[in-house]
Amino acid sequence: MEEIEYNPQELMVVNAARLLRDGDVVFVGVGIPNLACNLAMRTHAPNLQMIYEAGVIGAQPARLPLSIGDPSLVTGALSVCSMYDIFTLYLQRGNVDVGFLGGAQIDQFGNINATVIGDYAHPKVRLPGSGGSMEIAAWANRCYIITPHQKRRFPARVDFRTSIGFLTGGDARAKTGVRGGGPEAIVTNLGLMKPDETGELVLTALHPGIQFEQVQENTGWAIRQAPNCETTAPPNPEELRILREELDPQRIYI
C-alpha cells in the first residue's frame, strides 16, 4: 500500500472528527474544531449540528470564517439568536453534547488556562481570558481539546484555571456540582490523551510512527500510558480529500 502523506494539522482534524458522533450537537469554534465538525458531517456523522457562541445554529458558511462572528455563518443558517439565549437555552440547559476547548496551558487533570501566565494581578503574559470556555467546560456534556503537543502547553499545574477539567482529580469535579462530564479526550499531533477514572490524563493512543518517549518529552508531568494504548489509524484518502478539496482548499488551517 502506498504511504499516505499528511501534516500534523490534518492528523489532528481527522482524529478529532472521529471522536464526534452522529447527532451530536457541538458548540464549535473556528479553525481546527470547525474543520473537524465539517469532516465528521461529511463522513460518519451527517446529523451533527453545529452551534456557535455568537448565536448561530446550523450554519452553512460558503467560506471558512476567520472569526466565530463571521457574516457567512449567518446567511443561510437555520437559526440565529442572542448571546444570552445561546448560553441559557442551549448550553446551560444541557442541549449541547460537545464543546471544543483550547488554551495556552492544559494540565494533568485537563484544567485549562486561557487567562494569564504568572500572577493574575500582575501578569507576566496577559492572555485573552475565558470567553465562553468557562461555561462550555462546565456545561457541555463532554469536551474535546485539540492542541499541538508541547511541554509549555502541558504543565503539571496551570497558572490559572480559566475552565475546569477534573480540578485535582478524584471527585473534585463532581463536588463542584457542574452538570457536564468534562474533557473526554485531548487530541494532539502525537496521540490522544483521555482521563482515567481519577480524572488524570493518560495516553490512550499514539499516532502512527510516534513513540511514547516523544509524548513524555513534550508533557510537563510524568504521563502514564494506558495499558491498552492503541495506535490511531492514519487519515484515509477520503478524509484527506474532503479536507483538502472541500473544506480548506486554500489551506488556511491545514
Partner: protein
Amino acid sequence: MEHTTMTTKLISLHNAIKKYVHDGDLLYASGFTHLIPFAAGHEIIRQGIKDLVLARATPDLIYDQMVAAGCARKVIFSYIGNPGVGSLRMVRAGIEKGELEWEEYSHFSMISRLQAGASGLPFMPMKQTGAADLMKHNPQYQQVTDPYTGECVIVVPPLKPDVAIVHVQRSDAQGNAHVWGILGEQRLAAFAAQHVILTAEEIVDEAVIRSDPNRTLIPGLVVDAVCHVPYCAHPSYTQGYHDRDNDFYLAWDEISKTDEGIQAYLKEWVYDLPDRQAYWEKLGPEVHQRLHAGERLSAPVNYGEY
C-alpha cells in the same frame, strides 16, 4: 446541508399525541391568545387521556374544554379568564367545587418559571411585588437574600413540562420554525419541556427557514414531532393565516353555561370529528370568510451573500 440525511419528524397529530402525551403528564400547550393549539387539545380529548396537569399562563377555552372532558387533574395558571369576555366556567367550577387542583401565579412569575426551565436554572428572580397573599398560598414562591444589597428577592423554581405543544406559522420537516406576531411564551415552553410537539400551519422547505434565520425561534433540535395542522389554532388565531374568532369566544360563554351545552359541543365538534380538517370544513365557508386574513407583508431584509 445538502448531504444531510436527517429523517423527517413529520407525523400525524393523532400519532404525535399518542406517542408523547400520557396519562398524568405535565402538559404545556403554549400561546398567549395567539397560536393556541386547539386541534391538539381536541385530539387529547378524543384519545381520552386522563389526569393531566395542565399548565398555561392563560388556560383559555382550550383548557376549559379539556377540563370539561375530564382530561385534567390539576391546572397551573396565572389568569383563568375568557379574555375580554369573562369567566372560564369549567375551570372555575372545578376549583369552586374542589374537584380540580390548582397552582396559581402572576403572569410574570409563571413565565419566569418557564424561563428557569428553559435556561436550565434552579430558579429565576423577580422584584418584590408586595402581593403576599398569593405567595402565602403557593409555597413554590420563595425568597433569597440579594448578596449585594441584603434585600429580599422573590424567586420561582423551573417549570419543566413533560410535553409542550407549540403551534407555529411555518416549519421545515425537522421542526425549525418561523414564528411571528405575539410570541407569548412559545419559545420558552419549547426549551423548558422534555418533549415538544410542533404543529405548523405550513410545512416549508428548509430553504425558506434558512432565508431568515433570525425568525427561527424554535430550532428543530428541541422538537420531537412535526405535525402539519392548518387552522390548528381556531378559535384562537394564527397571525397572517386567519383571524381570532371572537364570536366563538363570546359563544363559549353561553355554551359553557350548562353541562348539556358543553357535552353537546364536545360531541359535535370533537368526538364526532376525526381531525382538524373535518373541523375546519364543518365550520363552513361563512366562518372561513369571516376569519380571512388579508395581506400585509413584511419588508424583506438582506442577509447578504458572503
